[in-house]
Symmetry: C2
Amino acid sequence: MDFLKKLLKGDKLTIARTITAVENSNNSEILKEIFPYTGKAYHIGVTGPPGAGKSTLVNIVIQKLLEENKKIGIIAVDPTSPFSGGAFLGDRIRMTDLALRENVFIRSMATRGSLGGLSQKTKDVALVLDASGMDYILIETIGVGQVELDIAQVCDTTIVVLVPESGDSIQAMKAGLLEVADILVVNKGDREGCDSLILELKFAFELREQKLGWHFPVLKTIATESKGIEELISNIKSHKKYLKSSGKFEEDRKRKLALRIDELIEEKIKSHLKEFSSWRNGDQLEQLIAKVYQRKLTPYHIADEITKKIIVGKK
Amino acid sequence: MDFLKKLLKGDKLTIARTITAVENSNNSEILKEIFPYTGKAYHIGVTGPPGAGKSTLVNIVIQKLLEENKKIGIIAVDPTSPFSGGAFLGDRIRMTDLALRENVFIRSMATRGSLGGLSQKTKDVALVLDASGMDYILIETIGVGQVELDIAQVCDTTIVVLVPESGDSIQAMKAGLLEVADILVVNKGDREGCDSLILELKFAFELREQKLGWHFPVLKTIATESKGIEELISNIKSHKKYLKSSGKFEEDRKRKLALRIDELIEEKIKSHLKEFSSWRNGDQLEQLIAKVYQRKLTPYHIADEITKKIIVGKK
């Protein structure tokens, strides 16, 4: 197919159109065609709480990678409203200068459906960028409890960005964030509390280090002054080297592919469920719900009955 | 059953044990028993970004409702780690004084599985509190893009709490938050920017007001000084009155019950999927994944094949 040739060559318009097609369709035909040409790009996730300076950091990392003549795809994932259908701008505006560079392709994820659905689409978009010949794919996402875990699933190296003034609520978020981190960055490193946060994080990482054989670095950056970026880049490269030499790279990717297959099966079943209309249409639904509202029937009994009709051999 | 009698009487120990049983089990037997006795409690959701002062506000609202001799159940939902299995404390510590009051039952949701899973469990816990004879159930949750939508699904009145200094990232969250709000509260109302935020929010609400027939109030509070609380309470009551007199109360609850049935079916199918082990076990899995890793097979083809085997009549 013509589009595939152009995509593999990295034609920007074709990349954009393919991503749009993938975003708008629940059909996996395009992805089936693209998939054989993927697996080459190195995926870097950047996540953290709102206001940690992720975009600024990503921006500078990209500049450095461009100096090495690398091709870079960027996917920005934002918290979105399942209702509004539109994303807010913000940090991303600053990134538009980058989009004009030849070796850069930036995609801001639009808002379709839930954050969960968004994470799935992000994985598909990453495949398109991978097939288009990117050396690196950077995925920036807000770390709010779930999305970053989904995103980490497609990333070889996940960088978690925190700031010294992270409060209680942020603490709670960190629990999930630390689990996905391969590299930790404390940004805005000139602010009060930075060194004690770094110590605290190093301590939290100690047990994991022994388990996994990778010395988790906790780095200090001041992204707005480009401070600490060289060290961050060299740590990304060390992590890549570690993954490759230890066999973890192949092992991780295989595990993640298996997870992806599970997700695809779940998605298929969900969409089948939406088509399965016999209980939703017409009077039967209204009568059933009225009985549930009056507490003469429970939702659990109805769910049991319907599931039996959908699943092969379910009793 | 003995436990049911005690639960319906509001015995605190029985409430606690029933909640634990419901949290730990994927089995709906207990819920089937409880469900016929539910539907009486009025559900109030309180959501908003981290640091908006939700807990302080909830705390004072409860004090006022207690003065009216109401029975109140409180569920605190926090962002959690799917890995760590433990929640952080924080605001909740301040709420422990309340737990000693006779007419109050507080449950902090433990962290099991994803935030998505947590939202489902929260709905089950709300049913237990409902059956135990609570007049009001207050559910406090952090508003970070998804959980608050799930929680709004069980709430009759949802209060969204914002603060004047909400930044860009918070703006993005607000998109989803505004959609679930029945009442908006700008807390920390003595801080700069409060009045302009209130104006902005009132403007954002104008279209929705015309559509839905409820005049969305945008209130100013200073929770730490108990300011604006009387007005908040009176607005909660007005909203309740509006729902009941317009027929929206029954309509909303029926719609939400239908949604709940859909969720239960999805959950059932997911857990069936986990049991469906034929492709996961043994050599077949490893061989398949190796082929996917080598790009000789795609995840999409495998998902197609497996789905056909699970779903009745799927081609």
